[in-house]
């Protein structure tokens, strides 16, 4: 029976999205059922995976090496859990945010379950080429969602996003082709054994695959498509994109590095990735600090935060593994909360210039609270998921003696504090003159409290890490 869970996780949202598409108008409540059911499925899966054995579904029953398998191990299950939890919150948030009968609402409620299904599919996939398809699926669901904020504003961002995403996936596909030429299989589980070492094509394939994923994952210097897209999208969409979509790419990198590409990877390459990650942390934070628009601050923060996850590659010890993955979870929740809270501010102000935030602490207290709490996790202050992750990464860096990553971790945290508090302080700042301001409608409770709930969850992740990390377990390949 557990074998059905991965399949249902893909098919249920998919069918819901298709149904929504065929129906032709927005039915927000149906998505609540879907996201709720999705969460239920993930929880069931969680129970199944907790035993230590991954849950595997053989699609079509053709067996290895031909068929595509869906596999839920600890890592995948955690990402699914993150997705499911965020899906519930974001679906709720989107009811007031996208409500009404506008065509964009229908498009959102169509694309969102499809994106959910795509993400689930990506996390569950155990096949190199299938991953390519799911990557495309995720991208092509995400870009139209960005456009929902109004094509005129977002078309540049969307186009840039699309171009980079397409190039990235084709480079990835080139790598897949070369790897298939070497190994003769696409199954992730079989690849390590089947990949011959010492050839030219294998490492080149790995380089192509990694580069492709880096582009998709918006890792410095390929982040340039991200801020505009994530900053321009509607808040709920930004939350999905920043929390899940780019994360999916990094997830792949983690998964492939420790699995399929394990025979091919080298220490030097790991250091290079770590360097990229560290640069992303510093550069992204610095950029976030300099932005004058709220959502750009948050978007650049994503650039920075993704960099932390890359620090696994140079260190490659258990603590780093756990830290990187946990950072993914914590950042996902916190960033979603940040974007939703930022969306609330935007909703009230009608614009997101930072100066407009002056003295808005009273009408938007709850949203600001959410912003602040999520900020705690982003900064990596305790108690929060972000802190737990940072702790693990720090431990790893000191364990491996690669202390230079410590500097990046610490500096990144401080810079993050810089940009988070820059926003908060404006909210607290009493303007001398009554600022000209469009006092829009105060965001409703649903909007305010979903953001807060996520923010609290980001804090809570600092308290409940033990079972989650147990579930994640050690590095699949045993570490290099």
């Amino acid at each position: 029976m557990t074998e059905a869970l991965p399949v249902l996780l893909v098919f249920v949202p998919f069918l819901a999205g298709l149904g929504q598409f065929v129906l032709g108008r927005a039915v927000p409540w149906s998505q609540q059922f879907v996201s709720g059911f999705n969460l239920l499925l993930v929880l069931l899966l969680l129970r199944a995976v907790a035993g230590g054995e991954p849950v595997i579904a053989d699609l079509g029953g053709w067996g290895e090496p031909l068929a595509i398998h869906l596999q839920a191990d600890g890592l995948a299950t955690l990402m699914l859990l993150l997705t499911a939890v965020l899906a519930v919150a974001i679906s709720l948030y989107a009811i007031p945010a996208f409500g009404g009968h506008a065509r964009s609402a229908w498009q959102f409620w169509t694309l969102w379950p499809l994106l959910l299904g795509s993400l689930n599919a990506l996390f569950l996939s155990r096949d190199l080429f299938n991953i390519y398809v799911t990557l495309e699926l995720v991208t092509l669901a995400a870009i139209p969602l960005v456009l929902l904020a109004g094509p005129r504003k977002t078309v540049d961002a969307a186009l840039r996003y699309l171009l980079f995403a397409l190039l990235g996936s084709l480079i990835y596909l080139a790598g897949v082709a070369l790897l298939y030429a070497q190994a003769g299989t696409l199954d992730l589980a079989l690849l390590p054994a089947a990949t011959p070492t010492g050839s030219l094509a294998g490492p080149l394939a790995a380089a192509l695959i990694i580069t492709g994923i880096l582009i998709k994952g918006a890792i410095l210097p390929f982040h340039i498509w991200l801020p505009a897209a994530h900053g321009g999208a509607p808040a709920a969409v930004s939350a999905i994109l920043s929390a899940l979509v780019v994360k999916a790419a990094i997830y792949l990198l983690l998964r492939l590095w420790t699995g399929a590409l394990e025979p091919l990877v080298s220490i030097a390459a790991g250091q290079l990735l770590g360097l990229l990650g560290a640069s992303a942390v510093l550069f992204g934070s610095w950029q976030a600090f300099r932005q004058s628009r709220l959502k750009l601050v948050v978007a650049y923060s994503t650039v920075a935060q993704l960099g932390y996850m890359l620090l696994f590659f140079p260190m490659a010890v258990t603590a780093a593994w756990q830290g990187a993955v946990y950072h993914g979870l914590a950042h996902g929740v916190a960033k979603a909360a940040l974007f939703l809270a930022a969306g609330n501010l935007l909703y009230y102000l009608g614009q997101d210039r930072l100066e407009a935030l002056r003295g808005i602490d009273r009408p938007l207290a709850v949203s600001l609270l959410a912003f602040g709490l999520a900020g705690v996790s982003i900064m990596g202050l305790p108690p929060s998921g972000g802190f737990t992750a940072k702790w693990l990464l720090l431990t790893a860096s000191l364990q491996t003696g690669q202390w230079w990553w410590t500097a990046a971790l610490v500096a990144g945290g401080l810079l993050a504090a810089g940009y988070i508090f820059r926003v908060l302080r404006l909210a607290f700042l009493q303007s001398a003159e009554p600022a000209e301001r469009r006092d829009g409608p105060v965001p409703g409770r649903l909007m305010a409290w979903t953001a807060t709930a996520l923010a609290l969850l980001a804090i809570g992740l600092g308290l409940i890490s033990a079972p989650l990390l147990d579930l994640l377990g050690d590095i699949p390949g045993g570490g290099s």
């Binding site: 059905a4 699609l59 079509g60 053709w62 090496p65 599919a121 299938n130 030429a181 030219l200």
Partner: protein, 309 residues
Amino acid sequence: MMLLDGVLALLLLLLAGRCVTAASLLQAIVAFIVLGLLLALSWVRLQAPDLALAEAAIGAGLLGVLLLGTWRHLPASGIHHEFPWPWHGMKQAVSALGGLALAVMLALALHETAPEPAAAGETALAQLDAAGVKQPVTAVLLNFRAYDTLLEMGVLLMALIGALIVRRPLQDGSRIAPATLLSPSLARLFLPPILLIGLYLVWAGAYSPGGAFQGGAVLAGAGVMLALTGLLRGASVDGLWLRGLLALGAIVFTTAGVLLVPVTGHFMAYPDGLVTPLMVLIEFSLAISIALSLLLLFTGTPGLARSRP
């Protein structure tokens, strides 16, 4: 034969270079379309006739029409003249060197012999009998790796939704495009054979080169022809039926995959007796969805309507 291969490869490279470096955008597009056709030709040479068909229909044909259509809609100023030759600047030179290095590495990598036979491919060929179709590619697409194909339908659908979001509101009654060389009567004359070819290609996919994609592309081509001649026009309203047909492929695929679980014990597996009819059913529904999606991508509208004469 080697000579022909060499010439083809050389032409491909030249066209690719032309496509990248042509000063005028139109020249680049034309070079790309020609390259697509030559590519199809090379694939025939490389024992992949069904892929050649697909490339010719979709990669060169449909995409070419789309590219040219877009080009026509660009503002007519000279901004799309570029001179991206390697000696135009430092950046170009560095990129060219980098590209060259990459090309050398890739070529060397492709040249390397595979130390082991491709296990997946061998298994696929070995299990062809159980797949319900004779054509290995179709078997892989619709049976062995049907899941990929299903997701691919999702990609198509979402690309369509995306394109519809960006489109500008359409004024009813306006034509998609100004008249072309094709006159409506000529189009009417060509329509039945083209439809027939398309349907045949779908049907033939089970046995010989062809299949849902190629057939769907040809059907879409027929639609494009009608649209170009003004017989068919985009509409800003979509009907339930249209959306149903667009989703049909994915829905049938999924439903078949799920409903038959009790019989087969696996998702997306088909029982021995039913496998062939199921394959055909799926193939046709896929073809319809593909054709409609591609057509709507071309018109850029959510719906279609017949023009009143």
